[in-house]
């Protein structure tokens, strides 16, 4: 049996550099939640189906439960905690609050980050583009209509 050993790892999260000691099989989600205590990214299905663990890696949404922490070394990681660092809500967060796009909130961090990646690339997405971008994020209670409305509102406001 091969004995696994913890190794040093450098992660750049929300503009800060973190040094952690982790087993090579630690996922990025585990590293964020258990080592850095950033619990905004959620574990729901744990197998890449639901999108609750979504974070941005160099600006693109990834499922942190499927990504090894090691694979994120040297990349820019953005979690929901990094979106409103000064306490002032990001326009997408504001829109989610205003449009009642949040109920239990478990999918919200993933939804908001997915929306951010979309709006960064496509500032004025059509409804279909919004829905397609959200296809990998599952919501069990709010329903998607309010979420889509919130993202649309951000796009219009920014115009």
């Amino acid at each position: 049996m091969v004995k696994m050993e913890k190794q040093g790892l450098t992660l750049r999260v929300n503009g800060q550099v973190y040094e952690i000691y982790a087993y090579p099989n630690m996922t990025l989600l585990e590293a964020l939640r258990e080592e850095l205590h950033l619990t905004g990214a959620k574990e729901s299905c744990g197998q890449g189906a639901c999108g609750a663990c979504t974070v941005l890696l160099d600006g693109l949404p990834v499922r942190s439960c499927l990504l090894l922490a090691r694979e994120a070394e040297g990349r820019q990681i953005l979690t929901i905690e990094g979106l409103a660092p000064g306490g002032k809500l990001h326009p997408i967060q504001e829109a989610f609050v205003e449009h009642h796009a949040i109920q239990c909130g478990f999918c919200t961090p993933g939804m908001i980050l997915t929306a951010k990646a979309l709006l960064d690339q496509t500032p004025e997405p059509t409804e279909e583009e919004i829905r397609r971008a959200l296809a990998g994020n599952i919501c069990r209670c709010t329903g998607y209509a309010k979420i889509v409305e919130a993202i649309k509102a951000v796009a219009t406001r920014e115009k």
């Binding site: 950033l38 619990t39 809500l89 205003e98 949040i102």
Partner: protein, 262 residues
């Protein structure tokens, strides 16, 4: 409208801000000093009788504080609604699988283990469960067997082939008599109806036709499709076709209705 402080005004959820920033803490986000981690072992079988739960090996693992099984429960059952309170905390005798419109659950939990998180995965797999398939998995077995037979015997294909031959014959009979009968449907399921006419004699023609069929021991539903079965023999279909022919002849004679195009 009177100026109310809440009614007629929009209001934000008090927790929405914290949920939008990720600050809101959910159960899984909590971490307390000396906190133990639990692991639930779920049934690997959809519907089975529990013969034995042996937690001894799991209990012996270093770091394990407790193993909980049905023996630790009062036997009280729970459920979200009063009328769905049929689930044991941990079942003692039987595990069930639930099949819902949207998906399938993982089966009932059989036991729960609590201890240091690093040993949890191992502890759960060391619990030994022995069980048998419960008898009323009959439904699943029957469904799978049916599909197997359908494929092995080319049932669908044969029904279409048989039905097409039968329909061709019935079409010939329908065309032979000018009684306003119409044949619709596809090979596995066909339907004989009677064209509406001004005097509304189509009802009489329909009733007479289907009654005559019954007299000849053939039942076809007057208001629904008839079906061709895999088990229908050539002789069965021949008898049905002859009965249809005779019943049409009866209607033709009774109504002297040669008013429809042949």
């Amino acid at each position: 409208m009177e100026d109310f402080s809440v009614i007629g005004k929009g209001s934000k959820r008090v927790d929405a801000g914290a949920k939008a920033t990720g600050e809101a803490l959910y159960t899984a986000d909590l971490s307390l000093p000396r906190m133990l981690v639990g692991k639930v072992l779920r049934s690997s079988l959809p519907h089975a009788r529990i013969l034995h739960v042996d937690a001894a090996a799991a209990e012996k693992l270093p770091g394990v504080r407790a193993v909980v099984t049905s023996a630790d429960s009062t036997g009280e059952k729970w459920g979200v609604f009063r009328y769905t309170q049929d689930q044991a905390f941990l079942p003692a005798d039987k595990v069930r699988f639930i099949v819902l419109g949207k998906g399938m659950a993982n089966g009932y939990a059989i036991s729960a283990v609590s201890g240091n998180d690093e040993v949890m995965m191992a502890a759960a797999s060391k619990l030994f469960i022995s069980s048998t398939f419960f008898p009323n998995s009959d439904g699943y077995v029957a469904a799978l067997k049916t599909i197997e037979v359908l494929e092995r015997e080319n049932v669908i294909e044969k029904i279409w082939e048989k039905g097409n031959r039968f329909l061709k014959r019935i079409r010939g009979i329908v065309e032979k008599y000018g009684v306003g009968a119409e044949l619709t449907g596809v090979a596995p399921m066909f339907y004989i109806t009677f064209k509406r006419d001004e005097g509304a004699t189509h009802r009489g023609r329909r009733d007479a036709f289907y009654a005559q069929l019954i007299r000849r021991s053939i039942f076809l539903h007057p208001h629904h499709h008839g079906y061709i079965a895999y088990r229908h023999t050539e002789e069965d279909l021949d008898r049905a076709a002859c009965a249809i022919d005779e019943a049409m002849a009866y209607v033709d004679e009774k109504y002297h209705c040669n008013v429809f195009d042949r």
